[in-house]
């Protein structure tokens, strides 16, 4: 019953102990803190950088080129915007050198709203990330997927961005879903969570974790249904699932597709689901203008137009300059269970 952040920490441990990870770094990533969300506590190769995001991304590129295997963190994606030209270089180096150099690096960064993070701890990054070709982009919604996608990211020879939905980081997974984790949740906490206070003498005791490589580019059907397809990822997945459960009582049967990978994305899974339900809703938190869901809808309209029984719908973040701190402001800015539920119901009721 690991939380998502514990699953990430365990994946990084597996990475550094047997998958060749040499450097895990970022602001406050090393001892004593081990990450502002505790994601890097107790790791052997974790170290602290200066407060310099461009330096972090540049270092990751350089380390990768020198044959090392870096996992870098930008503390909040809200602070990754000044690194975009370096992210472009990581993404275009293999292409622009005609295959001379690849850049095998992982960049992790917490994204999205849901923790009352106000204007600069609530940004989404998926729309930006999918605008940088040459990167693989993944975003888990469960602890198990976080573990398995991060292991796949680590062994990938390309730059992979691992977007961490920060509102889900402390969400517990199902018992035993991380292969090798102890059955008892408290036992896991005692083994791998750093103690409060002085932790200079503390060392984690890692469970005997097994490999789990969740392939990049494969979606997961989080809930099977026949009436409406919901294409979503990250924080919106558990919300969509909760909305679907409530709608089941009203005889509306929604299919929730957790994309998990934004690029490359699982077009086959989308086609299969849309052919079954004939109705599509895209849900994510990024602002709605030039949103990744818009791309999915464009392609669905172009390639599956005659399969559709209702206009595809996008439920996304309001196109306003920030997410305000007050509860009402945050909730009004990004999709919520209620708005997802209403959108699914509206699509289900639509008749051509």
């Amino acid at each position: 019953m690991a939380t998502m952040i514990q699953a990430i920490r365990m994946a990084l441990h597996v990475g550094e102990s047997r998958l060749g990870v040499t450097d895990i770094f970022g602001e406050d990533v090393g001892a004593p803190l081990g990450g502002v969300f505790t994601g890097t506590q107790g790791l052997e190769t974790a170290w602290n950088t200066p407060l310099d995001e461009r330096g972090i991304v540049g270092t990751a590129i350089g380390l990768a080129m020198a044959g090392r295997k870096p996992v870098a963190e930008i503390q909040f994606c809200d602070y990754a915007f000044n690194t975009i030209d370096l992210l472009k270089i990581a993404g275009n180096t293999y292409w622009s050198t005609g295959g001379d150099w690849n850049v095998p690096m992982v960049l992790m960064t917490p994204v999205g709203a849901g923790i009352r993070g106000s204007i600069y701890h609530s940004h989404s990054f998926d729309a930006q990330a999918t605008r940088i070709p040459g990167w693989k982009i993944v975003m888990p919604s469960t602890a198990r997927d976080a573990y398995g996608l991060l292991l796949s990211a680590i062994v990938d020879p390309n730059p992979v961005m691992f977007l961490m939905p920060k509102a889900l980081l402390r969400m517990k997974g199902a018992p035993g879903e991380i292969p090798g984790e102890p059955e008892d949740e408290k036992a896991l906490n005692q083994m791998i969570d750093a103690p409060l206070g002085d932790r200079t003498a503390w060392k984690p005791s890692w469970p005997a974790l097994e490999d789990l490589f969740i392939p990049i580019g494969k979606a997961r059907i989080a809930r099977e249904g026949t009436d409406v397809t919901v294409l979503t990822y990250g924080r919106s997945v558990p919300m969509a699932l909760a909305a679907a459960e409530e709608l089941a009582a009203e005889d509306i049967d929604a299919e929730i597709v957790d994309l998990r990978s934004l690029h490359p994305y699982d077009w086959d899974a989308i086609v299969e689901s849309v052919r079954k339900t004939n109705r599509v809703l895209c849900v994510n938190e990024d602002t709605e203008i030039t949103n990744f869901g818009e791309h999915l809808i464009r392609r669905i309209v172009e390639e599956l137009f005659y399969e559709l029984h209702a206009p595809p719908k996008l439920l996304a973040g309001a196109h306003v300059p920030g997410i305000g701190l007050a509860d009402h402001l945050e909730r009004a800015s990004v999709p919520q269970k209620e708005t997802i539920k209403a959108a699914i119901a509206e699509l289900a009721a639509h008749e051509p």
């Binding site: 060749g20 450097d23 950088t49 200066p50 310099d52 461009r54 330096g55 991304v57 540049g58 270092t59 990751a60 590129i61 350089g62 380390l63 990768a64 080129m65 020198a66 044959g67 090392r68 295997k69 870096p70 030209d85 370096l86 270089i89 180096t93 293999y94 292409w95 622009s96 050198t97 005609g98 295959g99 001379d100 150099w101 690849n102 850049v103 095998p104 070709p133 040459g134 693989k136 020879p157 390309n158």
Partner: protein
């Protein structure tokens, strides 16, 4: 400097200069879309290419260069015809397969990290290769990063100063600023309030030096000293070389000869003649021979194929970890 080395440097400086002139001619004749390069930096860049420890991996030097580094590449042994191919954007261009501008080198087998057009980003990337070579890593190589004076206004220059000089975590990084006193059209005083860029290194506790980059002997000695320090101490060093910009910023400003600037090749020729190492007729003969070779080569390159349209889809994602040793 021994006579043999003086002559070797001359040969390479001349080849680099004539290659740049051929590239400009190609551009002006419509055999390329854009020219940018390093005429006026040969006296510094050729010694750099001779002194870098060439090879692949952390036991050799990583070179994070910029788009004025033709002299360095030729001194390392690059084939000048490959530069013509990149200018003509043929599929045979080994640096970018017709995808990038002239002077945008990439040679993984020699640790020449791809040159990119954004200014100064190489200073943020160089700290990564230097980190892989830091004290205690066992790596024998160092990282060498080079950029112009105007680029030091970018935050990436400060990034390299900060990351390379942290106490106990110093990086074996030679930072080189080739100062031609211009950023496109903006003169030095228009953006820097200090006399020399190298002054900035002092605040970070690293050794610094300014060298006359128009003098190959002084440049060679300064580079030798700086490289030796970084290799032995595994700590950073900031070297500023005062150079000329003989053909302006790029083809965008015409690429015409700027007569007011010191021409390092001309000065070096006078010295070689005065020292009795070479006669004018010998120099003229060599110049004519190289000029003809390059003219012939540029005709051959014209016949080489361009990339095919469908090749835009190649090399988007790697299926092997080349830099990790998988081929």
């Amino acid at each position: 400097m021994p006579a043999e080395l003086c002559l070797k440097i001359y040969d390479l400086m001349l080849r680099a200069r004539l290659l740049e002139e051929r590239l400009i001619t190609m551009y002006k004749q419509g055999d390329g879309y854009f020219w940018i390069g390093g005429p006026g930096e040969e006296a510094f860049n050729v010694p750099l290419g001779l002194l870098a420890d060439k090879g692949m991996g952390v036991d050799h030097d990583y070179l994070h260069l910029h788009y004025r580094s033709t002299g360095t590449l030729l001194a390392m042994g690059a084939d000048p015809v490959d530069s013509l191919r990149q200018m003509k954007n043929t599929v045979t261009d080994p640096y970018s397969k017709g995808r990038n501008f002239a002077g945008h080198f990439s040679v993984r087998k020699w640790n020449v990290v791809p040159v990119t057009s954004p200014i100064e980003v190489q200073f943020s990337i160089a700290i990564g290769t230097a980190r892989a070579q830091r004290k205690g890593s066992g790596a024998k190589g160092i990282s060498i990063v080079q950029g112009g004076d105007a680029g030091t206004a970018e935050g990436d220059f400060a990034t390299a100063l900060v990351w390379a000089s942290r106490k106990g975590a110093e990086l074996p990084l030679l930072m080189i600023v080739t100062n031609n006193r211009f950023g496109i059209s903006t003169p030095y005083a228009g953006q820097h309030g200090y006399d020399q860029i190298s002054e900035r290194g002092k605040a970070f506790g690293m050794p610094t030096a300014v060298v006359d980059g128009n003098d190959p002997e002084a440049s060679y000695a300064a580079l030798q000293k700086a490289i030796e320090y970084v290799r032995t101490e595994k700590k950073p060093y900031l070297l500023e070389a005062m150079v000329s910009r003989l053909r302006g910023h790029s083809s965008a400003s015409g690429a015409n000869l700027v007569k007011e600037e010191i021409d390092c090749l001309e000065v070096w020729e006078q010295k070689l003649e005065a020292r009795g190492l070479m006669t004018r007729p010998q120099m003229n003969a060599l110049r004519e021979q190289i000029t003809n070779e390059l003219a012939e080569a540029s005709k051959r390159v014209r016949g080489e194929p361009p990339p095919e349209p469908e090749q835009i889809w190649e090399y988007v994602f790697a299926d092997k970890n080349l830099v990790g040793g998988e081929g």
